[in-house]
């Protein structure tokens, strides 16, 4: 089969496939009118815009009212003020010595290393 011959036959076959199209084709006026009615029934872009804006405004108002009516939120504990329950275990006798700078002539800052005061001294 020559290429031109094949193309002519395909064209004829497609013509056969579309043979009943004319009988099925709805009138232009009917389809156009239905589309026009659909166009009128569709809400316009302005209607959509107004609806969306109203919805957003209502949601904002509701959120504001809820925030006003509810109890004030409790301050959340922050990491800087938090003290662990086992922190006392870190309180060792040498801690004060480690954290402070010793001064000449002064006694030890650590109460645990300070010599006991003799309350009987000076008494007759």
């Amino acid at each position: 089969m020559k290429p031109d011959d094949a193309e002519a036959r395909i064209r004829a076959a497609l013509g056969e496939a579309h043979r009943d199209d004319g009988a099925q084709t709805p009138s232009f006026e009917r389809v156009w009118r239905a589309a026009r009615q659909g166009d009128r029934a569709r809400p316009s872009a302005l209607t959509w815009l107004v609806t969306c804006a109203s919805l957003v405004a209502a949601m904002g108002l509701a959120a504001w009212l809820v925030s006003r009516l509810g109890p004030p939120p409790a301050p959340l504990p922050t990491g800087t003020h938090w003290r662990g329950p086992t922190d006392f275990l870190l309180e060792t006798p040498g801690l004060v010595t480690l954290r402070t700078v010793p001064e000449l002539g002064s006694t030890s800052a650590d109460p645990l290393l300070r010599p006991p005061v003799d309350e009987r001294r000076g008494t007759p």
Partner: protein, 172 residues
């Protein structure tokens, strides 16, 4: 374009547009009419505008093809819903009866449609556009939204496949 002029051009192309919509919906006449109505609605409300970058027919056919694809996707989703199973409209069958010649012609048309349905969507589209709607390959590529080389490849493969699928009596 002036609305009256637009309406006149659409009316002039209405039979061809319906034939193209039929091909895009696998010869489902009810769906093709719905597609065409959606196309006209889009043109009326300005969602589809003719930019003048191609011929009016090419542009209109492109809109029909896109809307038909959307309809097909929506229909596919609707069929996924359990209570809609089996609710799809079956494709229109060729009308029987009448003289023997008309009946034979109708049967031949049905066989061609069946063969076309076995082609890939793009192969079917490009053959329809070139052989039935007399568009060039460039215009067909524009309607299909593909590159010219792609359209050409689908055209050649589709032609060979359709010739292989059709029986000799369908090609008379």
């Amino acid at each position: 374009m002036v609305p009256a002029e637009l309406e006149r051009q659409i009316a002039q192309l209405h039979p061809a547009s319906f034939a193209w919509a039929l091909a895009c919906t696998r010869w489902n006449a009810a769906e093709a009419e719905e597609v065409l109505q959606s196309v006209y609605l889009r043109i009326l409300d300005g969602r589809a505008r003719f930019g003048g970058r191609s011929s009016f027919k090419t542009w209109l056919f492109g809109v029909v093809k896109n809307v038909a694809a959307e309809h097909r996707r929506r229909r596919w989703l609707e069929e996924l819903v359990p209570w809609r199973w089996g609710g799809a409209t079956p494709p229109a069958e060729p009308s029987g009866g009448g003289p023997a010649e008309a009946l034979e012609s109708a049967q031949r048309g049905a066989r061609v449609r069946h063969a076309l349905a076995r082609l890939g969507a793009r192969q079917r589209q490009v053959l329809e556009l070139v052989f039935f709607h007399q568009l060039t390959l460039e215009e067909s590529a524009a309607v299909m939204g593909v590159a010219l080389g792609t359209a050409r490849a689908h055209y050649h493969r589709g032609k060979l496949r359709l010739l292989a699928l059709l029986e000799p009596e369908d090609l008379r």
